[in-house]
């Protein structure tokens, strides 16, 4: 399994307008991260789970989980994925995952709760520009889950939590890339070792 957790610092936690995804706390970034985590050409990576942590107004925190093995009727364009997220944000939440549509879940979870849950079955890696080169570490990874920030990055207090759960801080480029680009590179380096 491979997992990705993307932190949307300002991502709206209520249904938003599909015609202005950047204006919804940069939901567009989260959509692209979902697409790059799950999709290959004409198919979905069945062995991937994506977790989004939405911390924007008016009702944070909310977490959304998308499971490659069971997700249906999702396509890689931003608007389609945004439609799934929008639907999940319209549902009443509690601490337990609630399935909104096939393979898409929503819950009330903070970063610490989420990482506590995920670290039971994933090795947590934190992606940051100054980390160790993924190319040196990829071969040691088993069931890795990668934590990434959005355009704002990861706030200091959140970073402390992530690091407390992380096996390593890793880097995919000396350039500052967009989160979805980092996800493509992570897949690429891991794929090269497996196929």
């Amino acid at each position: 399994m491979r997992g990705f957790l993307i932190i949307g610092n300002k991502a709206f936690t209520k249904p938003f307008r599909l015609n202005d995804l950047p204006g919804a706390g940069r939901i567009d970034i989260l959509c692209r991260c979902v697409a790059q985590s799950l999709f290959i050409s004409h198919g979905i990576r069945k062995d991937v789970e994506v977790y989004l942590l939405l911390l924007g107004e008016p009702d944070p925190p909310k977490a959304i989980k998308i499971v490659g093995k069971t997700v249906k009727r999702m396509s890689p364009d931003e608007r389609n994925i945004a439609g799934h997220l929008r639907k999940a944000l319209g549902v009443k939440v509690n601490k337990n995952w609630k399935e909104v549509s096939s393979g898409v879940y929503v819950a009330r979870k903070c970063l610490k709760d989420l990482l506590e849950e995920l670290s039971a079955y994933y090795e947590i890696y934190y992606l940051r520009e100054d980390g160790k080169d993924i190319r040196d570490l990829a071969k040691e990874m088993e069931n890795p889950l990668f934590v990434l920030g959005d355009h704002i990055g990861v706030k200091k207090e959140d970073e402390e939590i992530v690091i407390s759960y992380a096996r390593e801080i890793i880097s995919v480029s000396k350039l500052s890339l967009q989160a979805d680009q980092c996800i493509v590179i992570v897949h690429y380096e891991l794929d090269r070792l497996q196929i």
Copy 2:
């Protein structure tokens, strides 16, 4: 310089609805290719040019050029990029590039005309799954331009034209990836050699 040429086999050649980019001959794919070619976190790659060849109805072929050095008011979300393309498709075209907005050009060009023009200052590489591993060839590349197909790939007759101009056929993965993912990997391998 780095260049990318993406062939949109069915991409509409007239202004389309921004609310249905997949329905416009998969303009969404072209938008993601533009985004991944040009954008890094909080910035644009000034040394990149993107060329789109649109072959869909009702008025093919049309080519759009986007120049990283001069493009303005573009952001990486699909809808924003689609707005730029839409504007370009509303302009009367002839064989010469016409600047529609800063850094965005449109012209009536077929694949052969476009490659003839581009091969004067770029080394052409054709991206195909069964090509040579980019990791072995990246260090030899100078001013490379990469030709990619959309979800349909590159039609046989077009492929013959591309290969006649190509220095090599290269591959970025044994998996069949989406065109925009291939672009991220190309940048990644070239970046690693330069920074």
